[in-house]
């Protein structure tokens, strides 16, 4: 048995018991009555006192009952709790979900706040070092908050203040829910005795208590030992309409024309009528009212109602496109999606060759805005700094030319690898065919290489970090190497030494390679999901202003390599990096149907076992005794009334 609020009980005892006893010392307020003579009554009272020795006892019986009632109430106030005989683990891992769906406001003020409150209540119910505990139990807990990643906020400790502070420190995020990492971390901690081991064996099982709405995306892959997981379900509504997909892209034909596609999902049981607003850089461009169908039940599975919305608009310049649905619902953070619209791409390519008609023709087919041809000699004698200052080329194609020094840039190299690419040619290999290639890689998409035959190729010797795209029979045929801000796409052979120019895949390859490399020079990926990191290439040491959603702008500095990294974006919105010359926008979106489906789960099916949800508030692992005590008090009050009535009975 434990006392969950013994201080309160003690204080109340100190106050109430003297009051009750004192009241018995007070004189009873009696009703006055005039009668003919008191002498018969006095004689009767005397008789009674002489003849009835139990009278005093009867009076005291009432006091005894009242004292007993008070005692029971005071014990109830101290909240005694029975620890279950099969006591659960003495170590607890509180896993608190802080993903986007936990921002839903169906439980006031939000699901996350409710989860934090329930976690605290759970800790309260366990007791801890500051409590008198019978049997000397020492309970430890740790706190892990998770969205896409797990954060250990407090390691195993029995210090309740520390645990409460850790719970308070959990901030909401717009990320997804991945429990695997959290469970792995929890199990790792549970197996190490920790600082406060107190001779505890490492085998002491730790019970994981999950405070979540149950929308765990990787639940199928999480392995939880039987009985080690408790799931406290938070939330009660599925009232949500979300933007679950969005894309903004320029038309292939006309660079000024932009197509915006968005997909809306409705998780309600009735159709949602909502206004979809399209804005560019915060300025509304179009509003359309749409009706999103309700949830459908198919084979017992709920499929949200979906609706595709597309807009077409004229936008020559770049900008941030925003699609917002204006129907109020319980989860606000997934009502908006952003996409960064790049400026129309105008690729400038320099071909360094001593004459390669097929390559030249293929590049010309790539709809480039500028294609210059330069001989190797002129390229070598040229001033690189001028080349750079001239606005640079997006891609430089080196056809059989491998200069030792190259300016920072993106290179497509045929034949011997340039010295700067940290790759050397280890001789020549003859009569090669392509035996394997990565069809999914952007460079090799739609490129068929089965018929490719190469008469002479260089045996490429690559560094460990090289990304090999295809393999010849005796060596790598193609590789991507990144060095000091430069990107090299190395092709091990001269196209004229192969039958590749006669293959339709060659033109596709050139197109893919130029686009791929150009994208590498351009801003990296500008449309990312919550939780991913932002990485940006800037001049080394430059200072920039970073504006993120929900926080004040702050200054960041590029490292020696010129890279700026914003680790783990936690909130959806537009992240903006401003330098003196340029502005870089990054659209961070949730776009996660699993997170938008905020319906609380009744059970979570983990790999191998399912854990049923406990909908009642957490903290009942100890059986509290106060309800029984109050019942006993009620009974005693009735008894007291009976005794009192009996006493007064005439």
């Amino acid at each position: 048995m434990e006392w969950l609020a013994w201080e309160t009980g003690l204080i109340a005892t100190g106050i109430t018991v003297p009051i009750l006893v004192g009241m018995y010392f007070l004189k009873l307020k009696r009703r006055e009555m005039l009668i003919s003579s008191t002498f018969l009554w006095q004689r009767a009272v005397q008789d009674l006192q002489v003849n009835a020795p139990f009278q005093r006892l009867r009076k005291n019986l009432l006091l005894l009952i009242q004292l007993l009632i008070l005692l029971l109430l005071l014990i109830a106030l101290a909240r005694p709790a029975l620890v279950q005989p099969a006591a659960p683990a003495e170590r607890y891992v509180l896993l608190i979900d802080r993903s986007a769906s936990m921002n839903a406001t169906d439980v006031a003020p939000s699901r996350l706040a409710e989860a934090k409150a329930q976690a605290k209540a759970f800790l309260e119910s366990l007791g801890g070092e500051s409590l008198i505990s019978w049997g000397g139990r020492d309970i430890q807990a740790m706190v892990i908050a998770f969205d896409n990643h797990a954060d250990v906020l407090c390691q195993f400790t029995s210090n309740r203040n520390q645990l409460n502070a850790a719970i308070d420190a959990i901030t909401p995020s717009d990320g997804g829910s991945c429990l695997d990492e959290a469970v792995t971390v929890a199990q790792a901690f549970a197996q190490s005795p920790g600082d406060e081991a107190n001779n505890r064996s490492a085998e002491t099982p730790a019970t994981m208590v999950l405070f979540s709405d149950g929308n765990i995306s990787d639940r199928r892959s999480v392995v939880v030992p039987a009985g080690c997981m408790k799931f406290q379900a938070i939330g009660k509504s599925s009232d949500n309409t979300a933007v679950v997909a969005m894309q903004a892209r320029r038309s292939y034909d006309q660079a000024d024309e932009v197509d915006v596609f968005a997909s809306l999902a409705n998780y309600r049981d009735k159709a949602a009528v909502c206004d979809v607003q399209l804005s560019v850089d915060g300025k509304p461009r179009a509003v359309r009212q749409v009706t999103v169908p309700p949830v459908r039940l198919q084979d017992g599975k709920r499929t949200p109602g979906q609706l595709q919305v597309s807009f077409r608009m004229q936008q020559a310049a770049g900008g941030v496109v925003e699609v917002r649905q204006n129907q109020p619902d319980t989860l606000a953070c997934d009502d908006t999606a952003w996409a960064v619209l790049p400026e129309p791409q105008s690729l400038r390519v320099l071909l360094v060759t001593s004459g390669n008609a097929p390559l030249l023709l293929a590049l010309k087919a790539c709809s480039l805005s500028k294609l210059d041809v330069m001989t190797p000699q002129k390229f070598d004698t040229g001033d690189f700094s001028q080349l750079k200052a001239a606005g640079a080329y997006d891609v430089i194609v080196l056809d059989g030319h491998a200069p030792k020094k190259l300016p920072q840039g993106c290179y497509l190299s045929f034949g011997p690898p340039p010295g700067q690419a940290a790759a050397t040619s280890g001789g020549t290999i003859k009569n090669q065919a392509m035996i394997d290639w990565r069809q999914q890689h952007p460079v090799l998409q739609f490129v068929n290489m089965t018929e490719l035959f190469i008469a002479n190729a260089h045996r490429l010797k690559l560094g460990r970090d090289a990304e090999i795209l295809c393999e010849l029979r005796d060596g790598p045929g193609m590789a991507v190497v990144r060095r000091k801000g430069s990107v090299f796409l190395l092709v091990a052979f001269d196209v004229l030494e192969s039958n590749w120019p006669f293959e339709p895949g060659f033109v596709m390859f050139c197109q893919n390679a130029i686009r791929y490399l150009a994208r590498n020079t351009e801003r990296k990926r500008q449309n990312i999901q919550v939780g991913e990191a932002i990485s940006l290439q800037l001049p080394a040491g430059i200072k920039a202003k970073l504006t993120t959603p929900g926080t004040k702008p702050r200054t960041i500095t590029a490292d020696a390599g010129g890279v700026v990294r914003i680790p783990a974006t936690s909130l959806a919105g537009v992240y903006r990096v401003n330098t003196d010359r340029q502005q870089y926008d990054f659209a961070v979106n949730i776009l996660d149907p699993a997170e938008s489906d905020i319906r609380p789960a009744d059970e979570i099916e983990f790999s191998g076992q399912s854990v049923a949800a406990r909908k009642t508030a957490a903290g009942q692992s100890n059986r509290e005794l106060w309800p029984y005590l109050v019942a006993a008090v009620l009974f005693l009050v009735c008894l007291e009334w009976l005794v009192y009535k009996q006493k007064l009975k005439v």
Binding site: R30, M33, L34, S36, S37, V45, V650
Partner: protein, 304 residues
């Protein structure tokens, strides 16, 4: 004159006794078990042979006898003088001692009212039978007295006296009895109407009343509330005479004890009276005075 007085008296007397009851009382008389010597020649047979119409006996003439009572018929036959002896009828003194102390004012109906009606009925019977009636009211000693009333003519005064006596103040029964015995003359019947709830006791006082030639009747008038109290809870009882306080918590046990005490008290009074030849009559103020007079007192032998 007499008719006027009677009518006025009945008008006043009807406050205490209704006329039908009075008509029934007309047929009653006060009886005395002892033939007692009165002061005046009355309507009552006494043990003494006296002047009366009812023959009792003869006796030889001795010098000095009243020649009017010589039986001349016997002298004619026997030539001896014999005296005719008649039952002498004597008057009877009826002394009613009425308690008008504060305690008599309590009860519902009040004991005081019932006691006065009883006193009125007894006085009425006595007056209409030409008995000598003395009415005394007492609380802290005698507070008023109507001595030696005789005949119907005194009915208004008797009614006036009874109606004007206020029940108030402490009681001193002992002193009252002393005063009453000092003032009474002759002998007769003495009727004491009181609740006898006397802290100092009634024994000494009653002993004084019994000690003379007075036949004593004790009527203990209690209220129904005293016989079975209908109160409960925590009470502070206040004595209406001396404002003495008794704090009680009335419960079943105390109620039982009270009733036992009351019964014991009444029994001891009865035993005291019986042992001394006095008659004891318990009465409740809620009982109709007709029943008390026509049944209880007749059964007791006071009235016939």
């Amino acid at each position: 004159m007499s008719a006027q007085a009677t009518s006025r008296s009945t008008r006043k007397l009807t406050d205490l006794l209704d006329s039908r009851f009075m008509a029934r009382l007309d047929g009653l008389d006060v009886a005395s078990r002892k033939i007692l010597q009165g002061k005046l020649q009355g309507e009552r047979r006494s043990k003494r042979r006296g002047q009366s119409v009812e023959f009792a006996d003869h006796r030889p003439y001795v010098r000095g006898d009243d020649l009017r009572f010589v039986d001349w018929n016997i002298y004619g036959r026997l030539e001896q003088l014999f005296m005719k002896l008649f039952m002498e009828e004597q008057d009877l003194t009826v002394h009613v001692l009425l308690d008008v102390s504060g305690s008599m004012a309590t009860g519902e109906p009040t004991k005081d009212l019932a006691a006065r009606r009883l006193a009125a009925a007894l006085s009425y019977v006595s007056l209409v039978n030409n008995n000598r009636v003395t009415l005394s009211a007492f609380c802290d000693g005698l507070t008023g007295q109507m001595p030696n009333m005789r005949g119907r003519i005194y009915l208004p005064q008797m009614a006036e006296f009874l109606l004007s006596a206020e029940a108030d103040g402490p009681s001193d029964f002992d002193k009252a009895c002393r005063q009453a015995t000092a003032t009474r003359q002759g002998s007769g019947v003495m009727i004491v109407i009181s609740d006898f709830l006397l802290k100092e006791g009634y024994e000494n006082a009653l002993r004084q009343l019994i000690s003379r030639n007075y036949e004593l009747y004790v009527v203990q008038m209690l209220s129904p509330q005293e016989r079975s109290p209908e109160i409960s809870g925590d009470l502070r009882l206040l004595d209406c005479e001396d404002y003495d306080v008794a704090e009680i918590t009335l419960n079943a046990a105390l109620m039982k004890s009270y009733k036992r005490t009351l019964a014991g008290f009444c029994n001891s009074l009865r035993d005291f009276c019986t042992a001394r030849g006095a008659r004891y009559l318990p009465a409740v103020s809620s009982d109709p005075v007709e029943k008390l007079v026509l049944n209880s007192l007749r059964r007791l032998g006071l009235l016939q």
